[in-house]
Symmetry: C2
Subunit: 286 residues, 2 copies
């Protein structure tokens, strides 16, 4: 369906599984800066999802500065009027990396949905800027996003709460803190409701780069992919809300740094297959 | 490989995912009694796994009596000399249902391994008695058992601690509290180390009956099956201890009450397929 010429249509998109405050995660944040292709990028930090934006911004300001950012902008959008404000739009327009913090993804979509600020993010992304997010800032990136659901047994009809996300990436549903909070049953329930979308479960200290129809894993944690496209049966449409869901023949993959996945071929890509077609910028972290 | 005549070679074997103290779980314990085929069975409770055997026994004494047991025997084996004692062997010999409580499965194998009491359990099972266990009492039933491993990310070489179990059932590895504690990564790691064994992840308030090469799910919770027999790749043999494991093309099923699985065919059995060949005793709970 793509043309044979591989034209980059926009900048890199990165989703991180959370816990980015841990020191060893600097590896992931360094990669995020490197994807900009600039040695001293301007980073804009969106803390809208968080209830403690000042603290969260302070942490990232220190972290990104230490990693070589020339400027770290505080895009402190707290309500829908902020999301229309020229001052924040101007910050977005000058950012080489737009980083979306964790918190509650419903705050992100509720406050940014349909706003000038969101249009500015899309425009900057189309121009080649990096868009990256962690935890809520990752979950919001898919066209349909998860915003709630118990980890202990989400294989109940209606247990996983979903709504429209920002749609920075199609064909996937992103979940975070995936291994740490045991969220496997959330993506199994989502896969039963619509087997077309690949579940991307990001562990803490794990990240993916979305690049065309390829997903690349990086960071020390695990990326779990839950592919329901070949399921042979499920009772989900027969149930009342809260009843237990069955699902048969879900396919699962556990990836680590260096591995990838082809969304069009629905298969794992090994490190040597990815190296042959590297996206790394010339000044990439090695 | 089996003969065409379906001769029962021993009594029913039941594994329960834990949380059997919850009131709605009486459904599961009632089924366990019904599997004995007796209207007022003698139940022997083994509390060896628990650090508070008196409390645990008291709870089951009350529960099983209320459900119709004629006698509930306190098989309070606390050390290896108890496991050789004639008094406990005699209790096992008169039990129609031998029920193994939760706690630490390592206490079970350490204290019962190679003992007269364990031989008596096997003999009684071969005569047709029900053997059932919950949590640690379920985990111990497989030939190789899990006794430890972090839930947050067990996809690390060596993270899952295993040793020889009682071997009441072959070809499976049993894990419990599976959805509630997010233990999916434990059975994925185990599957990578040996794809031959089916991972049986029992949620709380979920149970399975092992019957020949068929697994039948019952109870209100979920049974998750993790089948690694078709995995196409894993790095596990290349790693040092603690390094992150990849595994590709794991197959997963979520079953509820009424569904089953054929170990020989490696496929889910639907309720109507199981009804055609029911194991229910004539006086079964309905």
């Amino acid at each position: 369906m793509n043309t044979s010429v591989n034209v980059p249509v926009r900048g890199p998109l990165v989703a991180i599984g959370g816990a980015e405050d841990k020191s060893h995660d600097a590896h992931i944040l360094k990669r995020v800066l490197d994807f900009s292709g600039k040695s001293a990028p301007v980073v804009g930090v969106i803390t809208t999802a968080s209830a403690i934006p000042k603290d969260v911004f302070g942490g990232y300001q220190e972290g990104f500065s230490a990693l070589g950012a020339s400027k770290v902008l505080d895009i402190r959008v707290r309500d829908r009027s902020d999301a229309e404000a020229d001052t924040f739009v101007a910050m977005i327009q000058q950012a080489d990396v737009i980083f979306i913090s964790g918190g509650d993804q419903m705050r992100l979509t509720n406050i940014f949905g349909g706003s000038k600020a969101l249009r500015a993010i899309r425009a900057r992304h189309a121009e080649g800027a990096v868009v990256a997010g962690t935890s809520a800032g990752a979950a919001c990136q898919s066209t349909t996003m998860i915003y709630g659901g118990p980890a202990d047994d989400s294989l109940r009809k209606g247990a996983v709460k979903m709504t429209a996300g920002f749609g920075f990436v199609d064909g996937v549903i992103i979940d975070t803190h995936f291994l740490e909070r045991g969220r496997f049953s959330r993506l199994m329930e989502v896969g039963a409701t619509n087997p077309d979308h690949l579940g991307v479960g990001l562990g803490e200290d794990a990240a993916v780069l979305f690049e065309g129809d390829t997903i690349r894993a990086f960071g020390p944690g695990h990326v779990i992919l839950i592919d329901s496209s070949a399921i042979t049966g499920s009772n989900v449409f027969d149930l009342e809300d809260g009843e237990a869901v069955t699902v048969h023949n879900v396919t699962m993959h556990a990836l680590i740094d260096g591995y990838g996945y082809s969304l069009s071929d629905r298969r794992v890509l090994l490190p040597h297959e990815l190296e042959a077609n590297s996206l790394e910028p010339k000044n990439a972290y090695s």
